[in-house]
Symmetry: D2
Subunit: 258 residues, 4 copies
């Protein structure tokens, strides 16, 4: 799992959009070597008029993609009311940046038996982030990993500022594994691969990448999605960097398949 010597790659679309889209992309990321599958069923959107995700139907499509590919599924939980549904379908529950200090949600997730991926808030200090993890730990859930996804600074050349300094800092101060999401950290397709490579070189335990085979039609975050071919190329680079530093890729944690 995440936190061992091997590098873990989570990949998939920003949002589940349809059965065909989800299965098509799931097969491609599996073929390229991803060990886990991502996809959003409940989407936190700045505007109430933007696509809010397929909801429970999206969760069911993620389960279908898991059955088809054997890849465990990571998906975001937005909400105390839909937590039970997400927990039923997901293998890993993601807490998004905007909910990093949604303490009521964290307390309920702390009572689950499932792994939690806790993203860093846009302006969270490292102490605040670790304290949010403590909300999960103090309720009994020890199965946590962190995800750096860029912070808000003054820079205007990228969607966010990826703070890779935090990777070694987390390792000094905590036992929790840490992965990096270069898709949200850049917001720009051409910079995702350089930042993914950098994250591995910095010592991240894993990487999460948004992949879409028709990014111009994506309902969410198309401009930062890698095409599956480019994702496959990136996987080769990541394996090479990991290898150069004496690490390997994690063995696929296959699940189900039927």
């Amino acid at each position: 799992g995440i936190g061992g010597p091997g590098l873990v790659v989570i990949a998939g679309p920003c949002a589940v959009e349809s059965e065909e889209q989800m299965l098509r992309i799931a097969r491609r990321v599996k073929a390229a070597g991803a060990q886990m599958l991502r996809g959003g069923a409940f989407k936190p959107r700045t505007s109430p008029y933007a696509f809010q995700g397929m909801g429970k139907k999206g969760l069911q499509l993620l389960a279908l993609a898991r059955k088809e590919t054997g890849l465990p599924v990571v998906t975001e939980v937005l909400d105390q009311r839909t937590l039970a549904d997400v927990a039923e379908y997901a293998d890993v529950l993601q807490v998004g940046a905007r909910n990093m200090q949604n303490f009521a949600l964290l307390k309920e997730l702390g009572q689950l038996k499932k792994p939690i991926m806790l993203k860093r808030g846009l302006s969270a200090t490292l102490d605040e982030w670790l304290m949010s993890a403590e909300y999960l730990l103090s309720e009994g859930n020890k199965n946590i990993f962190l995800c750096e996804r860029g912070i808000r600074a003054f820079s205007d050349h990228a969607r966010n500022t990826l703070d890779l300094n935090v990777v070694p800092a987390v390792k000094e101060m905590s036992h929790l594994p840490i992965i990096v999401d270069p898709s949200h950290a850049t917001g720009v397709r051409a910079r995702v691969a350089p930042m993914a490579r950098a994250a591995v070189a910095a010592g991240a335990h894993g990487i999460m990448i948004e992949v879409h085979d028709r990014p111009d039609q994506a309902l969410c975050d198309g401009p930062q999605a890698l095409h599956p071919d480019d994702f496959a190329t990136l996987m080769v680079d990541l394996a090479a960097i990991a290898g150069a530093l004496g690490r390997g890729m994690a063995t696929p944690a296959l699940k189900g398949r039927g």
Copy 2:
């Protein structure tokens, strides 16, 4: 109410701590001329081991203080599960900075008939803040006002950086009233009064101030609480500044009492 020509001042302790504490402070802020009463029953705390608020009992003490003083009560709603309780007792429901993009909570609050105070997130742009208000508006609740409480920047001489520029910017771009919370924006007692005066001079519709008569014993945010005597002095200054700019204090919106 808030958004009219008169200046509205909301004051009270960070947290409800006991019947005596709440009533003592409520009487003092009323005597000094505050039009509304604040106090937290559910407290969002960085650490799970910090005081989390008195919960429903705290709401009941706020209702008692309202009965005693006639002042309407503003208190924070943290959570979908406790929303109904807060809505039962509060006159105005506060959405805190950490929940500004808790979209599930916003949607439920949009269906209430009660006024909502929406605080700005620590790293929220103005567009994001107004879009969060839009989550309330699009569900039917038009009774909203905004609260600037400081943003996160690099400065280390204060708890946060108060962004008063946003007051005229909100007025240019929105019809929503905006108040300012200098207590959280500074985190330091000695700077609360200067920033409160500045906010009024900048054109804010109101001010929210933390007041405690025994700040060294406060269970939360004691270092930024004004003593009631200093709060009374500040009220005189605020009235003078408002008067100098052709405004007055709002008439107390008395409620209940008997």
Copy 3:
């Protein structure tokens, strides 16, 4: 002078553009009650292809405006090579935000007998700012005042983020007077007056305002320049706020005139 009980207002165009422009505006700001005159002869511009100022000719026009109005002149020194010229003509030498840590320049300015206005760097902490003042003090120049002009944060609704919190913080930590420049802090004409009022209410010792009577033709920073009529209105407001807080306007420190 600056730092006494009375409020000092420095006003004038961003840049000296011509004899007519400088004298026209100087007369208007004097008539409205400004105690000092500003105008840039050497302009620090992000692009080498932008107007760089009139240089020594600009200094001479400032001296002419001083003779005509009796107002002392504040102008920026950019450069060790032109320092002697600026020192010959200016009454107060301004160190701009970009030069706050130009230590070589500071050391030379520390050996002058003339007052220095030290602007805060865009990302300077309070400690760094006071240490830059220490470069002046340690060379023997005790005649210094500070100028807050906005910091760089993530906000995109204004040119910079005005940090008024720093006004009481400077007063706690230093004996140096502090003024505020709301023109650069906002970059938007409509927000200059609210922030100027706020700065006075926060306790600043003075204000510096850019004024231009033909802002659409200004060679520099037209969008943030107040029209002289609006400047005159603002002066009335500032006097009213100062009066409400028990302060007055400083007596004009008239100079020269003959």
Copy 4:
């Protein structure tokens, strides 16, 4: 040189402290494979009471270290008055972060024939940085490379926030080579190597590292200096990452030696 396919590593102490110190460290970084030598003779220090560098004597010791090792020398120019001296001794002149918008200095450097390393200001946008390079280019000096050294954000877990996103962004928008300084970007020895590896994986043309063999006695920035042994280990890692991505180390650009 910098900007070709091979990775260039610049290394050496923060400041020249003595002949013995400079030669000892120069030999070690040369032995480990560095292609260029760094060392500060004029140091920009926040406090006027901190060590300000050895000045011209430091430049002479750098020249001695160049003669001894054959490595070209990079050193900072702080000042118009000492520019001629620095230009006489240095192979590459460094413009530090605090001087990125010292336009007078840039104009003079633009008239030199020697290469300039332009560090990014702590709060400089990419556009501002490229415009500062334009001050050099427009005066005729085309021999420029950029150096990312961390920006100022809210984070408190490191001295600065390393913005590696800017590496691919520079490559999209400019022909200028870009290197990364992980020493200043972290301020913490244990994080220098991870960020150096990350910078190479992100595609930087080079790296600049502070190395000191007695960091506890260093007159400047000891806590971020790598020991020569750790620097040698890092060089092996950097070569491995570069190799994994189809690049190699640059050939040493040997000079002089006599």
